[in-house]
Symmetry: C2
């Protein structure tokens, strides 16, 4: 049995976020209020580290705090099942793909811009970069 304990600074480091962000997640109800030392410092253990990591990774995946709250319900209320999580994830797969598509379209616009703009010989009035961003798209 692992009863290793961690300070807020330690779990923040492990989950790669800031101490203030952990406070914020606690205020938002995503992280529980953990036990404290005599002096009032928060004491965390491994499940907390996992939970915080889960939250941070979800944020990276583009889930909003509200969506994460929804996902965490499946953990906190064991009468829910994985199928619902799967449905949420599948929904999210589409959203993420949309973001990728958008960025790729924008990326090639930028690349075009860089290629078209020959360097230091145009005044801004007919700068291809400025023009590139005014051109209508689909």
């Amino acid at each position: 049995m692992n009863t290793t304990q961690f300070s807020i600074g330690q779990i923040a480091k492990q989950a790669k976020c800031k101490v203030e962000t952990v406070h914020y997640y606690e205020k938002s109800g995503l992280m529980p209020e953990p036990p404290r030392t005599e002096g009032g410092h928060r004491i965390y253990s491994l499940p907390h580290v996992k939970r915080l990591t889960f939250i941070r990774r979800c944020r990276e995946l583009g889930f909003s705090i509200e969506q994460i709250r929804g996902l965490l319900k499946f953990i906190d209320e064991p009468n829910h099942y994985c199928g619902e999580v799967k449905a949420m994830a599948m929904l999210h797969v589409r959203e993420v793909q949309q973001k990728i598509d958008d960025l790729q379209r924008l990326q090639s616009a930028l690349n075009d811009m860089v290629i078209k703009c020959k360097g230091a010989d145009y005044s801004i009035d007919d700068c291809p970069i400025i023009d590139a961003l005014y051109v209508e798209q689909q």
Copy 2:
């Protein structure tokens, strides 16, 4: 010579943003304070439409307001040249590519999650989706 004039609602529509956003860009100094009617309504012309479209497209490309302020300096101060804009754009190309890479990594994590999670037969304690988000990455 084209002297067509537009209301704020019209340029917002053309640039595909909201009226409030145009107000915001004016407050932020990205859009100039245009002439007004007797009654105080803003009067825009084609250069404004182009400028607003440029700003909106820049935002789509992920440029921050500050970065756009920098780009607009090249328009507003004609002693700057396209080469500097090109440098900024090239810098941004790398940033956008990073975003795409991140999203694609996350996308395949999500896809893995959806595939691994068999549906309604796992309690959350060993839900592969939750596990997928706790696994360390590179």
